[in-house]
Amino acid sequence: MSDPVTSPTPFPAAGNISDAEREDLRRHGILMTSLEELHNWGRSNSIWPLQFGLACCAIEMIAAATARFDIARFGAEIFRPSPRQADLMIVSGTVTKKMAPQVIRLWNQMPEPKYCIAMGACAISGGPFKQGYNVLKGIDRFIPVDIYIPGCPPRPEALLNGLIQLQKQIKAEQLTGPNAARFTRPEEPSEFPIPAYGAHDLVPTKNDALWAPPTPEAKA
């Protein structure tokens, strides 16, 4: 999904179901779809984020959990300190090159299905600090990101907005068929290589299988 050209869109846009998909639905039968719906309902209402903050954005993430904004209303206040029980990784803040391997390792150690929100300019692209020599220019160079929330820092409401979008995305996921979600497909990787500390930079500087800058055709 980081590469809009090659990988299929993670879920069909609402109201945009092709004939093949509809056929697929019929084959699934009603049982399958209701199972899917139950499954998605459960998951989307119980998103436990990893308790993990990187920088300033983390404060806004905490603020989103406080009384004023109360992320608990979405069932997502259980910030788990261990990645083993987390469903969502909110990369909230600047990912430095020194920190990147740790972030990726944590992501790897999360069980499927897992989601990633890049919160704030820094997590998306390095943000204001992208000119720094120790700043990773976007966490999506190493792990797949589902939702990007721009802002510096994004308001807590913006995080809630991102969470609602993620819920929508989860609710649209399918268990089987050609558009089956990432975690159901055996060939989709669930762990990503961790870069090593090099003499001048991380080695490698990005995961080529995952990330490529957009090409001119992408726009067309």
């Binding site: 300190p81 920190m99 600090f129 120790n134």
Partner: protein
């Protein structure tokens, strides 16, 4: 009272390297090296402590930095003076207002820039509000480290939101105020804003009372914090520890009094001092300082003069201070926050250096923690009050 005696033995004159305190030991086992952080619920960000444990007891503790090293200084040396101002917001992201001021202070020293009176008052108002924000959050986080299930933190954040709302309606952003300019402030608050702020400040002691009622006398809290993480004055001074942590050790050193920068000399407030230098004292310093801040704020609201908020000679663009250097410092909520600037006459600073209180206050972390349990280490770290944006910059 000054604890320093001229003939005091030189602390840490010998190599203060890894010290293994002789732990009174019955069943000495293997030492367990545990990494606390960078992803850890209570390292306040991406700080890492490598703790060597003997059972539950710490025999060694090495802090590891740099997980949030965002190259702030390098970027600032490639940006204009003005361009660095929003970056200072992100240094100590809990108190952007006072960080802004520290930077503005340094640049004003460097360029010999004057600041109008109203702006000085506004700066004091903002800085003290920031202190309230910082200290109440810190206390909340400290209790989180002590093992409450978020309740004090959430109460603290409830109050913080009110102040943050004020900042937002004034400067446009909740956290990244970018409010100070060289020679004044950016926005002039409206009378409604001032009234709202005053009301908030008047109500603040109520919150503090409730907070203290809930926690200060709590037996568990006393047992968890008193006598934990002792820091004596001589060592604290030598290690450059500043701010409430230093004053908790009984040293009377508050830059608001010592340097009397801004208009602090005209305000009537007291500097609380601790006697034991333990975690409890550090906690109480924050509470008492908040009460003093409220006093300062009330005076400031009463006396706020009318007038311009920017020096008419101040320049927004094309700002090129003369060659030279300056070190500006102020009493941030976490300690002495300084900016050291060298100008070579170009629009960008030649050297831009932040003196981060958070980093330097950690100098004696190991010494404070040794012999305590791992649970105490977390609390001691919490009581020092660091913010990683500033530690690693």
């Amino acid at each position: 009272m000054n604890p320093f005696t001229p003939s005091a033995p030189t602390p840490f004159a010998s190599a203060p390297g890894p010290t293994v305190r002789a732990v009174h030991d019955e069943f000495h086992g293997d030492l367990l090296e545990v990494s606390m952080g960078p992803q850890h619920p209570s390292t306040h960000g991406v700080f890492r402590m490598v703790a060597t444990l003997d059972g539950e007891q710490l025999v060694k503790l090495k802090p590891v930095f740099g997980y949030l090293h965002r190259n702030h200084e390098k970027i600032a040396e490639n940006t204009t003076y003005l361009g660095s101002m929003p970056y200072t917001d992100r240094l100590d992201y809990l108190c952007s207002m006072s960080t802004n001021w520290a930077y503005a202070l340094a640049v004003e020293r460097l360029a010999g820039q004057a600041v109008p009176e109203r702006a000085q008052y506004l700066r004091i108002i903002m800085a003290e509000l920031t202190r309230l924000v910082n200290h109440s959050c810190l206390v909340g986080f400290l209790f989180n480290d002590l093992g409450t299930s978020f309740t004090p933190l959430l109460y603290a954040f409830r109050e913080r939101e009110k102040i943050i709302d004020l900042f937002e309606s004034l400067s446009g952003s909740r956290m990244m105020c970018n409010y100070q300019r060289f020679g004044g402030c950016r926005v002039d608050p409206t009378p409604e804003w001032l009234a709202a702020a005053q009301q908030l400040v008047d109500n603040f002691p109520r919150f503090l009372d409730e907070y203290e009622r809930m926690l200060t006398g709590n037996e568990i809290m006393l047992a968890r914090t008193q006598g934990v993480g002792r820091l004596d004055a001589t060592h604290a001074i030598n290690a450059g520890i500043t701010g409430p942590v230093l004053r908790a050790s009984g040293v009377d050193y508050d830059l608001r009094k010592v340097d009397a920068y801004g208009f602090y000399a005209q305000f009537d407030f007291r500097v609380p001092l601790g006697a034991h230098g333990d975690t409890y004292d550090r906690y109480m310093m924050r509470i008492l300082e908040m009460r003093e801040s409220v006093k300062i704020l009330q005076q400031a609201f009463k006396r706020l003069p009318a007038g311009p908020i920017m020096d008419p000679k101040a320049k927004l663009r094309g700002f090129r201070p003369k060659a030279g250097e300056a070190y500006g410092r102020l009493e941030g909520p976490k300690g002495e926050l300084g900016f050291f600037l060298i100008s070579d006459g170009s629009p960008n600073p030649y050297r831009y250096r932040v003196r981060p209180p958070s980093l330097i206050n950690l100098t004696l972390l190991e010494e404070m923690c040794l012999g305590h349990t791992i649970a105490d280490a977390v609390v001691i770290l919490g009581s020092i009050d660091i913010v990683l944006g500033e530690v690693d910059r």
